[in-house]
Amino acid sequence: MAANRDTLWIYVVGALLLLVTVAVYTQYFQPEWKDYQAGFHDLIEEKLGTQKAAQAPAGLQQVWARQLDRVDRCTTCHTGTDWAGLDSAPEPYRAHPREILAHHPIAEYGCTSCHGGQGYATDMVRAHATTLEHWDEPLLGKELGQAYLIGNREALMEINCNLCHRFDRTTAGMDYINRGKELVAAKGCRACHTINGRGGVIGPDLTYVGDKSPEQYDYSRMSGVPSVFGWHLAHFKDPKSMSQTTVMPNFGFDSRDAQSLAMLVMSWRHANLPVRYLPGAQLADRPTPEELAKEHEMMTGPGAFFVQKTCFICHSVSTLGIESAANIGPDLADAVADVPRRFGIPLESFLANPTGTMSVVLSTQIRLTPEEKQTVIEKLKIAYQKKQEQQTKSPQAVPKT
């Protein structure tokens, strides 16, 4: 009967659905990166023992460099990046060269801002993105370096370095880019091209030429796979071969120079960098050496007591080298003579029974023991003495208070 046939088919299709469900469900538990993490675990166990191996990362790892808006999951497979003793381990477990990490910590830079690739991805092919159709920021590593026969296979990465280091004359570790910058200066590119606001108008403005879309280049005279990097290489080696109507001379660049220049121009892109990522940017209000010396003198010199007791906030003691920023009260170098003039009592009495603002200050903010008050008097006497000596040497008008 039809009903039985229907029921049979329901069971068959249901079984199929169950199979598909199980297949989809179980593949979740066997992602590529688990194999890499297992391999890492074994490596650490072998080299450093079981206890260390327990510290090996498990699960998806992610670095979120917020200010650069990058989310990189490379460390899911590249687990050895921060480990000591793995400098010659096989990839992907090899430790990252330390020196550069000191200036470019992974937590602040991520990985792809320097190396390229698709940080969001969690499997190798899509993360490295060297052949992906719809991600045009491939890993600038050995594979591409090999394809373009770059002498230093890993040099392509310098393109990304130059996004931040664009305005350095030279930067350590960026040999190709440095060479490129050298050539730009030496060969007079600015005679025809505007670069960073300076230059001629015979050729196009190259300031952000790295942003030009691959589709905007003319590959009709190029052989092989059409790529922007390839176009630049060919163009630098012989401009007329790529652009018939050009007036750009043939500089006779060899391969290395052409590669250096191609890498340089591809690094000329818009980069919205937070200030802290700009090399050499001063973020702190740093004191000058003179200001530092003065500070040191105030804290260790003859007037150090007045700094410790915070008198200097309102009062200068000029002859002891104490300069107040606010100068709310009078210069205490004069106090020995000034107090009797103002209040009609000697300094000692004033200190014992202050009036006005000082009565508030000395009863609430600055508490002086009798010994300290004695120290104050002694020091102010010395200060006054110095003042008098100064005045005999170079008579001055009584300072306004």
Partner: protein, 437 residues
């Protein structure tokens, strides 16, 4: 009443024993009261309707379930949409699968709804039969509107990933819409919430896609099914009156149809109904429900398998400054884009406005013709619910001709238009897409 176990108490209506229980199950189960108590055998046949309507409804259900799941993960903001989809693909557990099923079901739904319409046309299901108060032309119009909403649903969803494919497909689509006379610019402005495809467009499309259009479609679906019941069932029912007129029972004249007889007056099913007439009818529960379950399961399996085999694309992040070459509309609008190309003809200094002719007037006219066809149809009720009825041969051929033309235009747009919209024969290679490295 027989003593029942707890299990039987819960499940009896889905597997009723005997006629009495079968009838009872329809009135006493919330979900089942939706269905007819009795279904004719021809209506249940796979060969008649191909069950395309059920497939479409199942796809809609799948889309709703996967869609709601995606709503927890996707962010409809220009800055974050693309990245949220990347996260769905790479990080969310089974995110790739949910998204894959959603996409496959969406494309399938457009195709199945179109095929359902083709079936309805070729079987003359938009025609009234012999019943008193049938209004199948109205149901046909409801169906056409549902088709347009389905297309619009797919179109609004297409934009959401905010990648190059999405952005430029919507650019093409809205620019064609702009060519409509008088209202074109205004419609585009309202759709996009501005002049550019930006945050307001994304948010609008998102709200339309997730709320208004599905709710509208659901409402129309309810009306569509209601009309089926009021019209006495599927159109093939009206053929039954021709095969068994002598079986009209004597009691038919005295019966009143106030409660279960939703139809006012007598329809084909009423005319030929007789108690226990198993030759022509079976109980809705479980026969109809069982078949619906089977069709639904097959649909789900097909979607699941396709989602595993075919990855959902995600191109580069949308870049208004860089137009991909070629920039194509979604496949169900490619026939329009191709038509626009073909009607943009240069005559000396003057260029015919292909966007207007091919993009607005021709499809607009076709849609109007489609919706109004039941009123132009001159065939008799004898051709209702019959595949390739002789009487309707001309109109069927005309319809199929236009349909094949649309398919051909779609094929040309998909396979034979390459970079710069140049024409490439299927055996001609397209030039390599240039890359940075």
């Amino acid at each position: 009443m027989q003593i029942r176990t707890a299990w039987e108490k819960v499940t009896w209506s889905w597997n009723p024993r005997g006629e009495r229980e079968a009838g009872d199950s329809i009135v006493r189960n919330l979900l089942l009261h939706w269905f007819p108590a009795k279904v004719s055998l021809p209506s249940l046949s796979f060969r008649y309707s191909l069950w395309l309507g059920t497939v479409a409804a199942t796809l809609f259900f799948l889309l709703t379930v996967t869609g709601v799941a995606l709503m927890f993960l996707y962010v409809p903001s220009v800055e974050r949409a693309y990245l949220s989809v990347k996260d769905i693909e790479f990080v969310t557990s089974y995110g790739w699968f949910i998204r894959g099923v959603h996409r496959i079901a969406a494309h399938l739904m457009v195709a199945v709804v179109v095929l359902h319409m083709v079936r309805a046309f070729l079987t003359g299901a938009f025609k009234n039969g012999f019943g008193n108060v049938q209004n199948r032309p109205l149901n046909w119009i409801i169906g056409v509107v549902m088709l347009l909403i389905t297309l619009f649903l797919s179109f609004t969803g297409y934009l959401l990933p905010w990648d190059q494919l999405a952005y430029w497909a919507v650019t093409v689509g809205t620019n064609i819409a702009r060519a409509a006379p008088v209202v074109g610019e205004g419609v585009r402005y309202v759709l996009l919430g501005g002049h550019q495809i930006e945050q307001s467009a994304l948010l609008r499309f998102y709200v339309l896609h997730c709320f208004f259009l599905p709710v509208l479609l659901l409402g129309l679906f309810a009306w569509h099914m209601w009309r089926i019941r009021k019209d006495g069932g599927l159109a093939c029912m009206d053929q039954m009156i021709l095969t068994s007129p002598e079986e009209a029972p004597a009691s038919a004249g005295q019966k009143t149809y106030a409660l279960l007889g939703i139809t006012a007056g007598r329809t084909a099913s009423v005319e030929m109904s007789a108690p226990g007439d198993e030759q022509h009818e079976v109980a809705g529960s479980p026969n109809l429900t069982r078949r619906i379950l089977l069709v639904a399961l097959v649909t789900v399996v097909v979607c699941a398998v396709l989602a595993v085999l075919v990855a959902a694309p995600l191109e580069q992040a949308a870049d208004p400054m860089v137009t991909p070459n070629p920039a194509k509309a979604p496949w169900y609008f490619l026939w329009l884009q191709e038509l626009v190309t073909d009607t943009t003809v240069k005559l000396g200094d003057f260029t015919i406005n292909g966007a207007l002719i091919g993009g607005v007037l021709v499809p607009g006219l076709l849609m109007l013709l489609l919706a109004a066809w039941p009123y132009f149809d001159r065939s008799s009720p004898l051709a209702t619910g019959l595949w390739f009825a002789r009487e309707r041969r001309t109109q069927n051929l005309l319809f199929l001709g236009i349909f094949v033309l649309v398919l051909a235009l779609t094929a040309v747009g998909t396979f034979m238009r390459g970079p710069s919209w140049n024409f490439y024969w299927p055996w001609e290679a397209w030039p390599d897409i240039p890359r940075n490295f």
